[in-house]
Amino acid sequence: MNEITGNEIIHQYLRHNKKFPHVLCPGCGHGIVLGTLIRSIHSLNIPKDDVVIVAGIGCSGRLAVYVDFNTVHTTHGRALSFATGIKMANPKLNVITIMGDGDALSIGGNHLIHAARRNIGVTALILNNNIYGMTGGQSSPATPMGATTMTNPFGQLDKSFDTVELARGAGANYVARGTTFHVKKLEKVLTDAIERPGFSVVEAITPCHTQYGRKNKYKTPVDMYKWMKKAAIPVDRYNELSEAEKEDRLAIGVFVERDQPGFEERYFDLKAKLQAQEEKGGK
């Protein structure tokens, strides 16, 4: 008898009444991230009933429908606000949001910083493909300066967000970055993120060949994976590089590890305190 491993694990978590393969393009990293997320949840032995996947809008938003958890596909950018409500209504649930870069950093940017400030016990998985994929390849706040997109045909003029620094500054408990090439590392940080109380942010760099790569010198999906393989280096090694050397590199790994109690924990502590006071006062 064989141990169930690899994709057979994943097949156990897919919805059998849903059509496969999924809608995403050939070579899209989103599927890899979804597989990684499933392995993380599996490794933590969390029952399916206790997992809530809250997704936003865009290619990443479509992932939720395929997995056999409690899944909520929300409005554009608002996944974190829905997730906050779910977590506060039932803190026992493991709430994980899946958002794209446009979702999390542009239209939902306010929700991201406030979820971090509040330190709500939700894991924010941000799938960064540097572009609005589903709507046809328009610029996102993660599009690199100079890159060509449908809305910046002459090159992106503004700077892109650094998700890690943004989340760190806003107060997230845990911030990490991984890529869809370095899958095992991504799985490790994602598992840590889900396990850790408070607000965790994991940025997964995932290629969009169809909308981004083709217009920006990556001829095939494979070229984008080659780029990630070359560009990504662990954060401690990245920090030793000179500014010039950093230019084409991408730091991956864990950036922030704090141990602040989550918002829900503080709220329910307050409730308990108030109740104790009332009982005391009542006697």
Partner: protein, 381 residues
């Protein structure tokens, strides 16, 4: 716990009465963003909910997030409330549509203030009526209620929660600055005196549960997230399993059911109060604070020997068409006073179809329409 058989009397603000009503109806989750003149609802919730057994209060970063939070909490099984005013109401429209599509019960109180845009923050208005009906994009059914005094603020909040749960839909309760900011003596009903309806949860094993299946009432049962019924919730047009679909027959089935589950229960949903309408040849149709002015005007007109009456709308949408048709058996003149340029009078005229003479009284200067203004028009006949 011993049952309180006597109603407690309190001297309360309209906004305070909303909170009392919500708690009586079983509300255990408030997510909001403060805005005048609705803020007291949020402030009182902030102090009360943490002191209840399971109450959760959270101040979100904006109105959009507030809607997201309460929809999430409702999906997780809570009875939820948010309150806002004018500009905040505009921001809530996006996720309001989501809640209609995902059939998520919630109560949204909008305390109407004057003017468009930021307008007249501390003055009354009734300019959000058609926005309440059509504010979110796409064809959608919606229940819109209103209250004209502090007691009604409490009663209609309970009604709003019951309708939201019964029909799995958002319910909007429209107040105005005057109603929300008037203090009056109200009676708090005792436990067991009023109906509290909670959403139906599925009674079959999870494998057989289809989240958006057709039912007799058109309202599918709704399990809380985390209770073993795993399903997909989406704002996309979806099939019975909750999965996105663009197949025309499935789209039609869903949209039909969403409308039908509200429309077919008009007799339960459309609430009005008829005051001296039986023999009235002049009927004022009014709602909110203006209905109070109208009531006094009608009394004064009767004292002057005029057969006047008042049809007070407690449900604004779906519009109580049958009730208007009933009073039109006698009414030759219908007067519609409102604090806007004529938003409900459109509905009145649509039903009237030229039969009675419809006269409107409109004010948009942040002042209430006074009884004497209405009386003057009644006397003109």
């Amino acid at each position: 716990m011993a049952r309180r058989k006597k109603r407690k009397e309190i001297f309360a603000l309209g906004n305070e009465a909303v909170v009392e009503g919500a708690l009586l109806a079983g509300c255990s989750f408030y997510g909001g963003y403060p805005i005048t003149p609705s803020s007291e609802i949020m402030e009182i919730m902030a102090s009360k909910l943490p002191q209840t057994d399971d109450g959760v209060f959270i101040q979100m970063e904006d109105e959009i997030a507030s809607m997201g939070a309460i929809i999430g909490a409702s999906l997780a099984g809570r009875k939820v409330l948010t309150a806002t005013s004018g500009p905040g109401f505009s921001l809530k429209q996006e996720n309001l549509g989501y809640a209609v599509m995902a059939e998520t019960p919630l109560v949204l109180v909008n305390v109407m203030r004057g003017g468009l845009s930021t307008g007249l923050p501390t003055c009354p208005g009734q300019g959000d009526v058609q926005q309440a009906r059509w504010g979110t994009h796409g064809d959608h059914p919606i229940i819109v209620l209103s209250a004209s005094n502090v007691q009604e603020c409490l009663d209609m909040t309970i009604t709003a929660f019951n309708m939201a749960e019964k029909y799995r839909t958002p319910v909007i309760l429209l107040l105005d600055e005057i109603t929300a900011h008037t203090r009056e003596k109200i009676e708090i009903p005792y436990e067991g005196e009023f109906e509290v309806f909670s959403r139906t949860i599925p009674s079959m094993p999870p494998e057989w549960y289809k989240p958006y299946e057709e039912t007799v009432r058109g309202v599918p049962p709704m399990p809380p997230i985390g209770s073993g019924y795993r399903f997909h919730v989406t704002g996309l047009t979806h099939d019975r399993n909750g999965f996105p679909t663009q197949r025309p027959e499935e789209v039609v089935e869903l949209m039909d059911r969403l409308h039908r589950k509200i429309d077919q229960f008009f007799y339960d949903i459309q609430l009005v109060e008829e005051i001296q309408t039986e023999d009235a040849d002049t009927v004022v149709i009014a709602y909110g604070c203006v209905a109070r002015s109208a009531e006094l005007a009608v009394q004064q007109a009767r004292a002057n020997g005029i057969k006047a009456g008042l049809l007070k709308l407690k449900t604004l949408f779906p519009y109580p068409r049958r009730q208007q048709e009933k009073i039109m058996a006698n009414a030759k003149t219908i007067i519609v006073p409102e604090l806007n340029m004529g938003q409900m009078s459109r509905e009145v005229k649509r039903v009237n179809q030229g039969r009675a003479s419809v006269r409107t009284i409109n004010r948009i200067d942040g002042q209430i329409i006074t009884p004497s203004e209405i009386l003057k028009v009644i006397m003109q006949g």
